[in-house]
Amino acid sequence: MAKKMKRQPETLVELMDIILSRVCRGLKSSRHLLADACTEMEGFGIDPDAPEPEKLEILINYVENLRDEDGNMVFSAVEIQEYRTQLRKLTRRK
């Protein structure tokens, strides 16, 4: 079930940690889906130590359409909107 972010991320790494942990939790019970999603995300070439904003945006666009084994969206529209807002804020602050 979609949840709002409890604490606002202070860095792009933290934002990426929040997104990836949601992907892992959302798909943990469907191992092949999680493996496929992670392989796909690796292909974006994101540096996890210093994620580039434009690549994080690609990541958010990708997870927006992720579905679990039952066909349900892993992320809610609210969550995705929040990630985009946070990404904008953190990028401005940089």
Binding site: V13, E14, M16, D17, I18, L20, S21, V23, C24, R25, K28, R31, L34, A35, A37, C38, T39, M41, E42, I46, D47, P48, D49
Partner: protein, 185 residues
């Protein structure tokens, strides 16, 4: 002799680039690739191993979770640690800080979220003989400060994902510890 089928989840722990993915690939598909691709999130692979016990043969299906090794990704780590049955902790013998980080971050965090479940340490990249910077006594000293729930410190192996040295043996040892943990040995 009776056969028991068991499924257990284990996880690979350790800093980025110590060779976690390569160790899993060597164990599961017996291949090695020098190309380094940073793991993002968590990726599962599985392998069946057979353990011969006193009263039964245990057919163990090991689900091996390979996770990203960047320490800043604590949420990913915590989420993946919860509920796993064991772990392989990995350091790179050419980088002493990777052993230090096992003691300061990986093992304590893992024990906190997974409990004191079976662990095996793999001191990897032993094929880089000219660049070794970790001594066996360093590994022993680190492991002496951590006990699994059976009261023993985790065993360790000097491994090479590149040559395959001790990789199979290390994973099989974890399988044995898991079987013992279930009271099957």
């Amino acid at each position: 002799m009776q056969t028991k089928n068991v499924i257990k989840s284990v996880i690979m722990l350790g800093d980025a680039a110590v060779g976690k993915t390569s160790l899993v690939r060597r164990f599961v598909v017996d291949q090695f690739d020098d190309t380094y691709i940073t793991t993002l999130g968590a990726k599962p692979m599985e392998k069946d191993i057979r353990i011969v016990g006193k009263d039964a043969i245990i057919e163990l299906r090991m689900i091996i979770w390979d996770i990203m090794g960047q320490k800043d990704y604590e949420r990913v780590h915590r989420d993946m640690f919860e509920g796993v049955n064991g772990g392989i902790i990995v350091c790179d013998v050419t980088k002493p800080e990777t052993l230090k980080n096992l003691g300061e971050y990986w093992i304590p965090t893992f024990f906190e979220y997974a409990g004191k479940v079976p662990l095996v340490l793999m001191a990897n990249k032993i094929d880089l003989k000219e660049q070794l910077k970790i001594e066996i006594k360093d590994i022993q000293a680190l492991l002496a400060s951590f006990q699994m729930k059976d009261g023993c410190s985790p065993p360790f192996y000097l491994t090479s994902a590149k040559t395959g040295e001790n990789v199979q043996v290390g994973f099989e040892k974890l399988g044995e510890l898991l079987a013992r943990d279930m009271g099957l040995l």
